[in-house]
């Protein structure tokens, strides 16, 4: 009976003592800091190739997108384009459309990438539209492709 009491008392001491030490040694810390997002630069679209238009015809036009940013980007849409007036050739004689929504691959940081559009000349294009170069303003949406 005496031996049993001694064992129970010893176990109780170890358990209670350990709990107190753990709680007393916990500590907390705090502080403040910052992180900064970057800004974005617009891409520039330049023509690469596209020729052979005649009234009613559709041809491929290749354009190149650059990426002046320090992170990869991807094109999510390219709006339909319409040609500017050129002498006696009316505005809108040539229109461009994108070939879909799959603008891959992404454009690497500081890189460039080519995409193909469709350009169509109106069937009733004027004689003044012969052998001229059309300027078609293009607008596109690009987003970060960082991961």
């Amino acid at each position: 009976m005496r031996k049993r009491t001694a064992v129970i008392a010893a176990v109780a001491v170890v358990a209670v003592g350990g709990g107190v030490a753990y709680a007393a040694w916990s500590s907390i810390g705090s502080g403040s800091g910052t992180v900064t997002s970057t800004t974005s630069a617009d891409s520039v679209i330049t023509p690469v190739s596209g020729a052979g238009l005649y009234p009613g015809a559709t041809v491929d036009v290749v354009v190149s997108f650059d990426n002046p940013n320090s992170y990869p980007v991807k094109v999510t849409s390219i709006a339909n384009g319409s040609s500017n007036v050129n002498g006696g050739c009316a505005a809108g004689t040539v229109t461009t459309t994108s070939t879909g929504t799959d603008f891959t691959p992404v454009i690497a940081a500081g890189g460039h990438q080519q995409y193909t559009l469709k350009a169509k000349m109106n069937a009733d294009a004027a004689e003044a539209c012969k052998s001229i170069t059309f300027t078609v303003p293009l607008n596109a949406q690009l987003v970060s492709a960082a991961s």
């Binding site: 005496r2 001694a6 030490a21 007393a24 916990s26 500590s27 907390i28 900064t36 997002s37």
Partner: protein, 129 residues
């Protein structure tokens, strides 16, 4: 005999409490190391922080959380998140440790999140190793 054992147990229980009161754990500090820039949608950057232990005992850093402030109403509150401490780390007494935290900007972050400085508030917990 039983009375002696109970008295001895009482003394042993009191001993750790007395020792802890003499050496309370000091609060540690958390501060930026250098700058963390270049955060873009879908991307991550490393925010290195320095955890300084001013106490005379080693500590085990078990938790380090970060809350992100909202520097612009045009940038959602959840646009930027900071991952919690990945691995517990021992910081020696009167010493410090640099801890890398991963900061992520959501891929859906709008233009309103460009070129902003996000305030960070750190909080952590440590125990005796």
């Amino acid at each position: 005999m039983r009375r002696v054992l109970i008295a001895l147990a009482g003394l042993l229980v009191l001993a750790p409490m007395s020792s802890a009161a003499e050496s309370p754990a000091k609060a540690f500090t958390i501060a930026d190391v250098g700058t963390a820039t270049g955060l873009v949608p879908g991307g991550t950057v490393i925010r290195k922080v320095r955890v300084t232990n001013p106490g005379n005992q080693d500590i085990l850093l078990t938790r380090l959380d970060t809350s992100v402030g909202r520097p612009s109403p045009n940038c959602p509150a959840n646009a930027v998140t900071v991952a919690p401490l990945a691995t517990q780390i021992v910081i020696a007494r009167n010493n410090y440790a640099d801890v890398p935290l991963t900061v992520r900007m959501a891929a859906s972050a709008p233009d309103g999140c460009r070129n902003l400085t996000f305030p960070l508030t750190y909080s952590g917990t440590a125990i005796k190793p």
